[in-house]
Every structure is written in structure tokens, then in C-alpha cells.
């Protein structure tokens, strides 16, 4: 059995001065991570405050855009689609959709790569099987 993911139109993200660097990255086809310069640790979602030290000693770095499925589910219904947590090869795990895939054969650990999907606002990163 195979069920292709429905090609749904994602809602536009709310943009703010805090997340602008992330969504500007999406517009340029880049997936952005936060980096805490106090600890050297990467984080998602990017913000102007380190979630490890609360200082503003942060910068923003580009991720490769590759990773593996950490967990997934399929919202069933007339227009089924996959909601997933993807672990980026850099480490952080992010919520996303796996698109253009067979919803009946998804597995934790599958390799994926980023594919930006347009919205009525900024594009958002989704993933396809690599």
C-alpha cells in the first residue's frame, strides 16, 4: 500500500525582529541555526538570546540541510500529510513536514534533505527523502 503525501499549502509563519534572520535565510534558500558563543553549542529555533546562558552572545550559522527522521506521524484524513521531527546532521532537532513521500513507508532514521516550500509569507523548510 502506498499513500502519497498531500501537497498542502502551509500557513505563513509569523515574522518578528527576533526570527527575521531565520526567515530571511529561508528566502535565500538557507537553513539557519543559532550558535551560542559562550558554549559553542548550536540551537534550534534560532533566537537572539542563548537558550544555554541567556546572554546575547549568539551568532547565526547555515546548516547543511541534511538530517534523519527522529520521529514522525501522519495526520490522516482526506488530505493526509506527514509531521516529523528531523535531526539535522549538526545535531538540533526541528519540527517539519516530510513531503513528496509515501506516507505508508516512513521510518525513524531515514535520511532526508531540506526543500523550501513557499507560503503567502516567507518560505519554510520542509524535507524530502534523500
Amino acid at each position: 500500500m502506498a499513500t502519497m503525501a498531500f501537497d498542502r499549502q502551509p500557513a505563513a509563519p509569523q515574522e518578528s525582529p527576533d526570527n527575521k534572520v531565520y526567515f530571511d535565510g529561508c528566502r535565500a534558500g538557507k537553513l539557519i541555526l543559532g550558535k551560542c558563543n559562550d558554549t559553542g553549542k548550536l540551537f534550534h529555533y534560532p533566537r537572539h538570546v542563548s537558550p544555554f546562558t541567556l546572554s546575547n552572545n549568539v551568532e547565526f550559522v547555515e546548516a547543511k540541510g541534511t538530517g534523519t527522521i527522529y520521529s514522525w506521524s501522519v495526520a490522516r484524513g482526506k488530505e493526509p500529510f506527514c509531521v516529523a521531527y528531523v535531526q539535522l546532521d549538526e545535531g538540533p532537532i526541528m519540527l517539519t513536514n516530510i513531503i513528496e513521500c509515501d506516507l505508508d513507508s516512513l521510518k525513524c532514521g531515514q535520511k532526508v534533505k531540506v526543500k523550501f516550500k513557499d507560503t503567502e509569507g516567507a518560505p519554510v523548510p520542509m524535507f524530502v527523502l534523500a
Partner: protein, 388 residues
């Protein structure tokens, strides 16, 4: 009287669909019910606790509506469905500190009458919520977020859909004796796994009900509890903890009960094997499995095996749970199940549960609430109650 405070009143609203009542009215009705249960009156209340389900700013409109005139302590800690379990601990601490003598905790709501699709609708968390921009575009729902906990639990520990189904089966065995339960019919493992898939790997019968209603608790200082003609149910241990996304270091396999549980056990000076009955927050079957592990009733990863084969059914299982039918079969008022978890634990401690599900020697019981997204952003409250 050896505990710092006592639950002297508990009341669960009998309604499951409140088309003819307002939310404020439901709050007031459960408050009155709990006061009557305790043998107290509204003029005795000097502490009030409520959460986000109360209409208005914090509890101010409810204080006004109910005409509470003697308040000298007020707490609107909001942690979703776990709020009311956390409120019990806060009420005990307020009583210990002399801030109040008689604390009222209320919960009420009417999502069913309002046609809310609680688990399967994509809802915004609001404007300016920082994590929202990274989630709403992906159409996540309460069901899919909990389902991903189940997917990961299955991947790491080999948990099966049939094991999860046993949680529902046990709840249904209890619900058949509850005349108010929304789903009183006993179901089988096959019924659960053959029900329609809502969010892989969770089926419709892995999900809790959507119901209206509410509940209230009265927590009082020992001298007052002693003066009342009700069984003495002391709050022996309590704990609260909060879990988040850890900046992307997500681990879906545990809940904040892994922290709140040990706090409560340490305060109480007892261990999980001493507990005779447990109310466990059951928004979904997987929620129960994760919390049972986190509370120490079995090792992490062993929850699926632990709940299988009727081990949660009163009379046959090692850990009777949710003997009112729980959120899975009885009710889930205002989409917040913590209140009803405490209420059934009080019934069990008092020996006032339905005779068919009453646990013998139920002198030490536990209730655990979880509010928010299991796995990523939620609070847990644990209380351990002792019948003296």
C-alpha cells in the same frame, strides 16, 4: 493528623455536554459541590486557585461571580491540564505558610458544546508566541505531537500498538461502572487497533474524549480537616516540574513526571511500590505509558509490557489506574484532565470509588497530571495522598 494539609472536599460535575450552562456557572457549581462534600460554606474560603480555563483575567472574574469575600491568597498558575494537580501542592504550601486555611481549586469548560475539534484541528498558539512560527506552518495538532512520542517510543523500545491499546481496554473496564462515563462500553485490544487511524500510530480509541464539565477541590489545614465529618485524606507528597525543547536537543521518550514524581515520593517518604492506586493523565494511551515509566512504576522503555494484559485493571492488575474511566472513557472537562485525576484518587483514598473498582487497602494513592505537549513543552504535577 500527620500531614500538612488535607483534601476535605472533592466534586466532579456530572454533565458531559453543557449546552445550557455557562463556563462561569460550571465553575460555581463545582465549587458549591466541593463545599457541600466537605461540609463547608463559601464564606470559609480564604484561598482561591484556578487556571486558564477560568473566564476573565486570571481568577478575578470568578472571584467576583462567586462572591468570594474573604480571600487572602490567590494563585492562577497555568500549566494546562496539570494545573490543578500543581495547585494542590501550592495550596498545601500556602497553608503551611499561614497564607490561607481553606483553599478552593476549580476547573470547568464546555469545549464539546462549543464544537471544538481539540486534537485534530490546527490551532495557532497566538501572536508573539516565539515557538509558534516554527510550528504552525507544519500543521501540527495535539494528536500528531503526541503520536510522535509514540512513534519514537516504539522505535527505541519496541512498544507495540497492542500494548498501547491495553491502556484503553483497562480504562473501558472501569468506565462500564460509571453511569456518567461518555464511553461506558468495554472494548478489546482488537477494537482499539482496528479503529480508524487518527495520527500514526494513534487510532481513534487511543485518544481521550472531548467533554464539558469540571471539578473542584477543597484543601484545608489539619485543624479544619479534623473538625469535619469526612475521611481524612492528607497530602503527603507533591512535586511539579516543567520540560521544554532543550533548544533542539529534543528527547520525546520522557515527561516532566520524571522530575515531579521523585520530588513527590521524596516528600512523602514512600516509593512507587507502596502506591495502591494511581490516577495517570490519559490524553492518549501513550501518555499513560510514558508517565508510568517516569513515575518509577517500571523501568524506562518497559511501559508497554507493564500496561499489557490487564495490568492496569482494578481487581486483576498490579497498578489499578483511572478507575472512573479516565479521560479515555469518562470525561476530559475543558480538555484538562488533571482535576478529575485528583478527584478519583480522593475517591479511592476515601474508599468511595464504585464498589466494582474500589481498590482494597487504598490508603496510599497517587495522581499525576500533564499539561501541554507530551515530549516537548509541558508541566507535570504529582501528588501522593494518604488516608489516615
Amino acid at each position: 493528623m500527620k500531614n500538612p494539609a488535607y483534601i476535605v472536599g472533592a466534586f466532579e460535575h456530572p454533565t458531559r455536554k453543557a449546552e445550557d450552562k455557562s463556563t462561569a456557572q460550571l465553575h460555581a457549581e463545582v465549587a458549591f459541590g466541593a463545599l457541600q462534600d466537605a461540609g463547608l460554606s463559601s464564606s470559609d474560603i480564604d484561598g482561591y486557585f484556578c487556571a486558564g480555563d477560568a473566564p476573565g483575567m486570571g481568577g478575578l472574574s470568578m472571584i467576583d461571580y462567586m462572591g468570594l469575600t474573604k480571600l487572602r491568597h490567590y494563585d492562577t498558575t497555568e500549566s494546562g491540564g496539570s494545573s490543578y494537580v500543581i495547585h494542590v501542592g501550592h495550596a498545601v504550601e500556602a497553608i503551611m505558610q499561614g497564607k490561607c486555611n481553606v483553599a478552593l481549586i476549580t476547573l470547568a469548560g464546555r469545549p464539546r458544546a462549543e464544537g471544538m475539534q481539540t486534537g485534530t484541528a490546527v490551532r495557532s498558539a497566538g501572536v508573539g508566541v516565539p515557538d509558534e512560527s516554527f510550528e504552525l506552518p507544519y500543521g501540527r495538532t495535539i494528536a500528531t505531537m503526541h503520536a510522535m512520542v509514540a512513534t519514537r517510543h516504539m522505535h527505541e523500545f519496541g512498544t507495540t500498538s497492542e500494548q498501547l491499546a491495553w491502556v484503553k481496554v483497562a480504562a473501558s473496564h472501569h468506565a462500564q461502572h460509571n453511569k456518567h462515563a461518555m464511553l461506558p462500553k468495554v472494548v478489546t485490544v482488537e477494537d482499539v487497533v482496528n479503529s480508524p487511524m487518527v495520527a500514526d500510530p494513534l487510532h481513534r480509541l487511543d485518544c481521550c474524549v472531548i467533554s464539558d464539565g469540571g471539578g473542584a477541590l477543597i484543601v484545608a489545614r489539619p485543624e479544619i480537616a479534623k473538625s469535619l465529618n469526612r475521611p481524612k485524606v492528607g497530602v503527603k507528597g507533591w512535586g511539579e516540574a516543567y520540560k521544554h525543547q532543550n533548544a533542539g536537543g529534543i528527547d520525546l521518550t520522557y515527561s516532566a513526571a520524571a522530575m515531579s514524581g521523585p520530588m513527590a515520593f521524596e516528600k512523602a517518604g514512600v516509593k512507587p511500590s507502596d502506591i495502591k492506586y494511581a490516577s495517570i493523565y490519559d490524553s492518549f494511551t501513550i501518555s499513560v505509558v510514558v508517565q508510568i515509566e517516569d513515575l518509577g512504576f517500571c523501568a524506562k522503555g518497559e511501559g508497554g509490557k507493564f500496561v499489557a494484559d490487564g495490568n492496569l485493571i482494578s481487581g486483576t492488575g498490579k497498578l489499578p489506574f483511572n478507575t472512573d474511566g479516565g479521560g479515555l472513557c469518562n470525561n476530559h472537562p475543558s480538555n484538562r484532565g488533571g482535576m478529575t485525576k485528583v478527584i478519583e484518587a480522593v475517591r479511592q483514598a476515601r474508599g468511595e470509588a464504585h464498589p466494582a473498582v474500589q481498590v482494597p487497602d487504598s490508603s496510599l494513592v497517587l495522581a499525576n497530571g500533564k499539561g501541554g505537549n507530551l515530549g516537548t513543552r509541558h508541566g507535570c504535577g504529582t501528588v501522593i495522598l494518604e488516608r489516615e
